[in-house]
Symmetry: C2
Subunit: 194 residues, 2 copies
DNA sequence: CGCGACGTTGATTTGCCTCAACGATTGTGG
DNA sequence: CCACAATCGTTGAGGCAAATCAACGTCGCG
């Protein structure tokens, strides 16, 4: 029951037996993060990889000028981590914050390596997941380059309406790469047009 | 000999026997692309994944306004493909052009699946490669958001000097997401400052 | 209640784009 | 090999999208 969502998610990308699924799930430890609490703070080592069972997170970084830059949001069914820190044992550049009371399933780096060995198809699973992620990042770059801020905002709202409803305008603007003041002006223009 | 660079590249990410390396390499077919020729054109199906043995390529898309948008350059030792088209059997949105006379090693989608089965560690190889790519895409997004055009240009020149020397200013500007006129003005400013 | 974070609005500035013109370089066909 | 075309890099004038700065009312929360 507590692992149902994770199992569904895995079965979308690879074919696995129920037995394998159980072995995989046993490697993950449930954890709760209450609203506004941090799962990871810039400077720490990211020792986990996480799957969101419930709730919503924001993954962001703060640059030298103090501006927040949101890489992505992770709602129910999404994966979560600072891949750079996790893979390279480097201090994290990212912050991960719960936007509401949330539950995640965590796996440590050493357990992940054990899991790869015990259930080799997991290697395939993360290969496929990673490649899908690359496609998403490529598409986002192209959107950032050839769409205006207003078009990007509309695309985001249309694509992830359920996430948008959980976000403040400031969080949305930090994802789009614009200031919150300008986002406010975009929204006003939308209203007067309709 | 013709596969040495590929073998070196593989050994950086996974531990494999010489025998396995040979099996892997046998799946790849050498191919030559002469300067300015297209390895892939927008609208086609991307049926291959490629490794650059020699030369240099540009991967880009053309948007509705006719603007070219360069996703990345691939020089010797880099991988190359339209992942979206390759994975999802969808018509490609990307163009891949040789910037100089080049040689690549190509593998088809069906052969790739056979290779995964025959040499399972290849699954791990591409999992690791993909995750590294994700890290690179994330970093690029952050740079696009918090650096000015001038800073992005300097970062690019400092990070990939050997690639830059092969590129026209127009190609560089399409990678940075600015117009070539503005890049010209950036360069002039750099000169007068020093 | 009062404080801090939020969304809004306006005035001003700025980074970058657009358009147009020009000489320099490269490539190509006769 | 040259003539011509095409593409390139440069420069300027003007315009626009978005940032900056500052002020304000609102809301949730301790």
């Amino acid at each position: 029951m507590p692992y149902d969502l994770l199992k569904e998610n895995i079965k979308k990308d690879v074919t696995v037996s129920e037995l394998q699924l159980d072995v995989i799930c046993n490697y993950f430890e449930p954890s709760s993060v209450s609203k506004n609490n941090m799962l990871l703070v810039q400077g720490q080592l990211c020792k986990f990889e996480g799957f969101v069972k419930n709730g919503c997170f924001r993954v962001y970084t703060i640059d030298k000028k103090g501006n927040e830059n949101t890489l992505y949001f992770a709602a129910k069914g999404w994966w979560l981590m600072d891949l750079d820190s996790f893979m390279n044992h480097a201090p994290s550049v990212l912050n991960i914050q719960a936007l509401e009371d949330s539950e995640v399933l965590l796996i440590s780096k050493t357990d992940k390596e054990l899991l790869y060995r015990e259930v080799p198809v997991v290697e395939r699973l993360f290969r496929i997941m990673s490649q899908k992620a690359i496609i998403a990042w490529q598409r986002r770059l192209v959107r950032n380059h050839c769409l205006t801020a207003k078009e990007r905002y509309e695309h985001f709202v249309n694509t992830y309406p359920s996430i948008v409803s959980k976000l403040t305008d400031r969080q949305i603007s930090s994802y789009l790469g614009i200031t919150h003041e300008f986002l406010s002006k975009i929204k006003r223009k939308q209203l007067t047009e309709k």
